[in-house]
């Protein structure tokens, strides 16, 4: 097991290098897209700055908490899709029957497929998350280390969720719109203070739309330096990865080739 993990970490490092080099062939496009995403996230933070300037507290949450939400949500989304960009493109790959290529390699299909591409905008998200946390929240060392750990944990949850939502395509035909809405729901709910929601909505945020694991639990962990919440975050990530993998491999049995000639590299 440790040997296999080491092996896949090596593969990840190689793919990051290759994917980044491929992106840098179109340096202007890569940089402008990453910067645009940074600005996109920044515009939301600017909105919240103006919002809290007018209304200093929102159901017990203040500006620093919302900055932390954005830092964790953007940073972890960025890490997930900068490293495993195919997670985001998986619905199209499944619907178009383009999995054949990945099934030919002597590697486990899912991790290898996920590593096969990077998303240029995700680099902007990752940079934004860390920049906001360091520059605006100004953490001490303990908080910063916990933040790093949590962004990795939430990134794993995002990967699991991307795979789970994309795998709907195996079962529901063209599930692109459904998958997109499910993903948007998680991202959107994750970027608002969770204290706004109660009852059934709150239950949904811990289950079907797991936004609470993206923002609420990590923010609580960082607010109180709580190991219990860190463990809850890791638990969420492990469960989501498990659900994603189970749905993907169950769906793969139903997969029909698109008879497409695909190339990778």
């Amino acid at each position: 097991m440790p040997e296999s993990l080491k092996n896949y970490l090596g593969l990840m490092a190689a793919y990051v290098r290759i994917n980044l080099n491929a992106q840098l062939e179109y340096r202007g496009a890569f940089i402008s897209e990453a910067v645009a995403m940074f600005v996109n996230d920044g515009s939301w933070v600017l909105f919240w700055v103006m919002f809290f300037h007018r209304f200093p507290a929102l159901k017990g949450w203040n500006l620093q908490d919302v900055m932390t939400i954005w830092a964790v949500a953007a940073g972890s989304f960025g890490i997930a899709h900068a490293l495993m960009g195919n997670g985001w493109h998986l619905p199209t790959i499944i619907v178009n029957g383009q999995l054949d290529l990945w099934m030919l390699y002597p590697r486990a299909v899912l991790p290898h497929l996920l590593l096969g591409r990077t998303m240029s905008t995700a680099w902007g998200d990752a940079a934004f998350g860390y920049a906001v946390y360091i520059a605006l929240v100004r953490p001490d060392l303990a908080h910063f280390l916990m933040f790093v750990f949590l962004t990795v944990s939430v990134a794993a949850l995002y990967v699991g969720f991307s795979v789970a939502s994309a795998s709907l395509g195996f079962f529901v035909g063209n599930a692109a719109a459904l998958c997109e809405q499910w993903r948007f729901a998680v991202i959107t709910f994750a970027t608002y203070p969770q204290s706004l929601f109660s009852g059934l909505a709150k239950l949904a945020l811990f289950t079907i739309v797991p936004a609470a694991f993206v923002s609420y639990i990590p923010v609580e962990a960082l607010r109180m330096l709580s190991i219990r919440h860190v463990l809850a975050s890791v638990f969420g990530a492990v469960v989501m990865l498990g659900i994603g993998s189970a749905m993907f491999y169950a769906g793969l049995r139903r997969y029909e080739s698109g008879n497409l000639l695909s190339m990778h590299g």
């Binding site: 496009a29 809405q181 959107t188």
Partner: protein, 265 residues
Amino acid sequence: MKAIGKYTWIAYTSVRSSLAYWGEIAARTIFMAMILYIFMRLWTAVYEGAGAERLGGLSLKQMLWYLMITEAIVLSSPRVSVEVDEDVRTGRLAVQLLRPLSYALFLMAKTFGERAVRFTMNILSGSIVTLVLVGPIPMSLSGLAMFALIVPAAFALDFLAYLFIGLFAFWLESTAGLWILYSRLTMLLGGMLMPIEIFPDRLQPILRNLPFAMMVYGPARIFVAPNARTLLSIAVSQMWGLAAFSIAVYVIQNIALRRIQSNGG
């Protein structure tokens, strides 16, 4: 007259084509319902926290209807720049220019048709959701007429801005960064997330004079609080904006078209 008929037919074809994609319409409706629910929770908490009946001159009900309109406007915006970018990059633009049509007017007619469908659907579904969430607000026929008068100019401004960005494909590797930036500025500075009256006092006069406010804030404000003086002020600003944007597009299009090289074969 014949030319008007030609472009009207293009707009009509675009309407019919957009109506064919019910899946997309349903997906937008779900997303809009979700956003409105979040806004309802957010602004209910704000009004309760502030202990105020009105904020920025709007009651809670008016605020939700205002946000419904801004969302309907922003979510209905077709990404014209992406299409122009593709036309330039693939060389399809050279073929478009052979047709007995103005490229800009062709795109405008197509975009208006597409947007008319999206906007109508957004308004219908948004109105139902807002009615369920907060109930009705007083409306008058004259108010609705003012709204109907101001919306097309807002759409024309938005179209010209996207066309302007798309034409930069002649010089840039990708215009994605520019349109993301533009759409975020529209969202933030146009008053999509909160009316301009809620922004810091010093910013308000600046925001009111930017084109973003003429596209989003203006129509939404007229919808919830119709007023002839506001209408006149917004309409005049829109006319100035249209003149400036048209000149900018005309100049850049002329410069860009000189760069086209067409080879037979």
